[in-house]
């Protein structure tokens, strides 16, 4: 019952958020400018008819456009881009690209970050702690788009120095590459390395900071001392009791960092030339493409809430007090 009410609230939030995004996009962006900017002006009547057909005509009252758009969304149709292509098809094509980056960045960032944070707490003020702390401070201060470009420059330098294309820094795969399954897979993995690094680095830095402070709080706690007193080795006590408890606060941060991760994915896609949703969004705003922008916003809202639910579930798994019944 509690879960159902929570779910209903989530659905309502997504609906309001998406509607708001649509209304803002529809009033701030002007698809008509795309036609007016052309060298050969199409006749106004033609433009009007075309815009009305796509539900992008700014002469139609906003609420009428909204009703038509919302009706489509309820049937699972996000409308058409200003060039007349189906938004749904484009989303389906690009979603996998974004999801691959997002999941890798999230999992690698979270796991490596938590492990580094735990290590640096256990070795507090030791050499490892100093290196990790300094490193995470520096990485946290480098915006994704600077890190991405630096990685590209570094990759070009390494490639030139060795004479081999060790690193790929543009696109998802080499166009026109012939070869079997393994060659293709290897090629894709090569393209995946740099974007993943630039995306995960920031997450690793943030999570290592959170985990370090959470771990330090917990390590002084009575139950860890009890675990040691009852004869557990230091390693076991720390891993089984301290690390697990210290994960709980980090999990709550997970939802908050997810929004940052989404933006980071958009930046990474744009810099490394991946044709994902983030790149599409940036281009769509530039092209006044209202329906595309609204669709990306809806997906982002859903993803944020999925991350929220995931962190609730993780929380329940880690913290026995939360489990009901």
């Amino acid at each position: 019952m509690f879960l159902l009410r929570r779910l209903a609230n989530y659905v309502l939030l997504v609906a309001v958020a998406t509607s708001l995004a649509y209304l803002l996009a529809a009033s701030a962006l002007h698809p008509r400018a795309n036609y007016e900017g052309r060298a050969a002006h199409p006749p106004e009547a033609v433009v009007n008819a075309r815009l009305t057909e796509l539900n992008l005509n700014d002469r139609t009252p906003l609420w009428q456009r909204y009703v038509r758009w919302a009706g489509g969304v309820l049937r699972g149709d996000f409308g058409r881009t200003w060039q007349g292509e189906s938004v749904n098809a484009e989303v389906a094509r690009r979603f996998g690209v974004t999801l691959r980056l997002l999941l890798l960045g999230m999992v690698l960032g979270g796991v490596i970050g938590v492990l580094l944070g735990a290590l640096s707490a256990v070795r507090q003020y030791g050499a490892a702690d100093r290196v990790i702390t300094t490193g995470s401070f520096v990485v946290m201060s480098i915006p994704v788009f600077v890190l991405g470009v630096l990685l590209q420059v570094g990759a070009i330098k390494v490639n030139n120095a060795t004479g081999v294309r060790i690193f790929e820094f543009s696109g998802e795969y080499s166009a026109g590459l012939s070869g079997g399954f393994w060659t293709q897979l290897g090629d894709r993995l090569k393209h995946l390395v740099l974007p993943t690094v630039s995306l995960a680095a920031g997450q690793i830095a943030v999570f290592s900071r959170y985990q370090r402070s959470a771990m330090l709080d917990v390590m002084a706690a009575d139950f860890v001392r009890t675990a040691r007193a009852k004869g557990l080795r230091r390693r076991t006590a720390l891993l089984r009791h301290a690390l697990r408890t210290a994960l709980i606060p980090s999990v709550t941060y997970f939802t908050y960092t997810f929004g940052i991760l989404l933006v980071g994915t958009a930046l990474t896609e744009k810099i490394f030339g991946w044709h994902g949703l983030g790149e599409w969004f940036v281009d769509s705003v530039g092209q006044n493409d209202v329906n595309a922008v609204a669709a990306v916003n809806c997906l982002a809202a859903v993803l944020v809430l999925v991350a929220g639910i995931a962190s609730d579930v993780l929380y329940a798994i880690l913290d026995p007090r939360v489990r009901v019944g």
């Binding site: 701030a28 962006l29 401070f137 600077v146 420059v153 929004g259 922008v293």
Partner: protein, 287 residues
């Protein structure tokens, strides 16, 4: 430094002992001086073009080299720093203030006020700020950058507001708050006089961290053309112009990038040091 036992004295001493934080503060002051005095050190304005030098590496004539159209990279970078720093500071102050007020009101009044405010917080958390500011960017094309700063601030306060709300809910049962209430002090005055000063240390730390977050957000949005609009420049727009030429003309990219990273790093170090100094539970940095 004030009396040996006073809280501000303890805080100040802890802060001074924190070497990274002091280093951060020194670097930040130097960066501010560079940003606001820099324009007077060179004869080139940020919109001047030197038609005898296109894409030249750093030289005594152009300290940071020149760009595509002969712009002096030092002049544009310094100008960009000004924009980034001002926007960062402004956004941090506004968003932290908003977070404090909203959180304190929700936590003090509870009931319907709380539900409405927290629902707005949830809603804004669901809408990624980057997307929203990007959508609204056509509105401030040609308008003042203040609108852009206001929008950035409007999407940055939610998480802090939640934390402040939680703290307020425990503060409102304290004796001095109860006493004020029974003496008939109006609720709004209690919030500003008794609640907000008692969460101020969190707000100070938050404002500091928000400066670096705002500088980052500003430059990321400007990088895509959703932020500061030409002919004005910020570090983000400079980096966007330079990013495709980073291998061939590295000075175009490296100088703005290094200064951006330095700004964010120094602010982060100050924030971390302040957090340690203001935390009453931090035992190691004792008197």
């Amino acid at each position: 430094m004030s009396g040996s036992g006073s809280r501000s004295g303890v805080v100040a001493r802890r802060a001074v002992r924190n070497v990274p934080a002091v280093a951060g503060a020194v670097v930040l002051v130097l960066l501010f001086l560079l940003a606001f005095l820099g324009p007077y050190l060179t004869k080139w304005g940020y919109q001047d073009k030197d038609f005898t030098a296109f894409r030249q590496p750093p030289s005594p004539r152009h300290w940071f080299g020149t760009g595509d159209a002969g712009q002096d990279v030092f002049a544009t970078t310094v100008r960009g720093m000004q924009k980034s720093l001002i926007i960062g500071l402004l956004v941090a102050v506004v968003s932290t203030g908003l977070a404090g007020v909203v959180g304190a009101f929700a936590g003090y009044f509870l009931g319907a006020v709380d539900r409405v405010l927290m629902w707005v917080v949830d809603l804004l958390l669901v809408l990624p700020s980057f997307l929203m500011v990007a959508i609204l960017s056509p509105l401030f094309r040609g308008a003042t950058w203040l609108l852009f700063a206001a929008l950035l601030a409007a999407f940055m306060w939610m998480v802090t507001a939640r934390i402040i709300r939680g703290m307020t809910m425990s503060l409102r049962e304290r004796e001095y708050v109860l006493a004020a209430r029974y003496m008939g002090v109006p609720p709004v005055r209690i919030v500003f006089r008794h609640i907000l000063p008692n969460v101020s240390s969190l707000l100070i730390v938050d404002a500091t961290i928000n400066v670096s977050a705002a500088v980052m957000a500003e430059s990321a949005l400007s990088y895509f053309g959703f932020g500061v609009q030409p002919p004005d420049v910020s570090l983000g727009t400079l980096l966007a112009d330079a990013s495709t030429q980073a291998t061939t003309y590295p000075w175009l990219f490296l100088f703005p990038a290094a200064l951006l990273v330095l700004i964010v790093l120094s602010v982060n170090l100050i924030g971390d040091g302040l957090r340690d100094a203001l935390d009453p539970a931090s035992g190691k940095a004792a008197r």
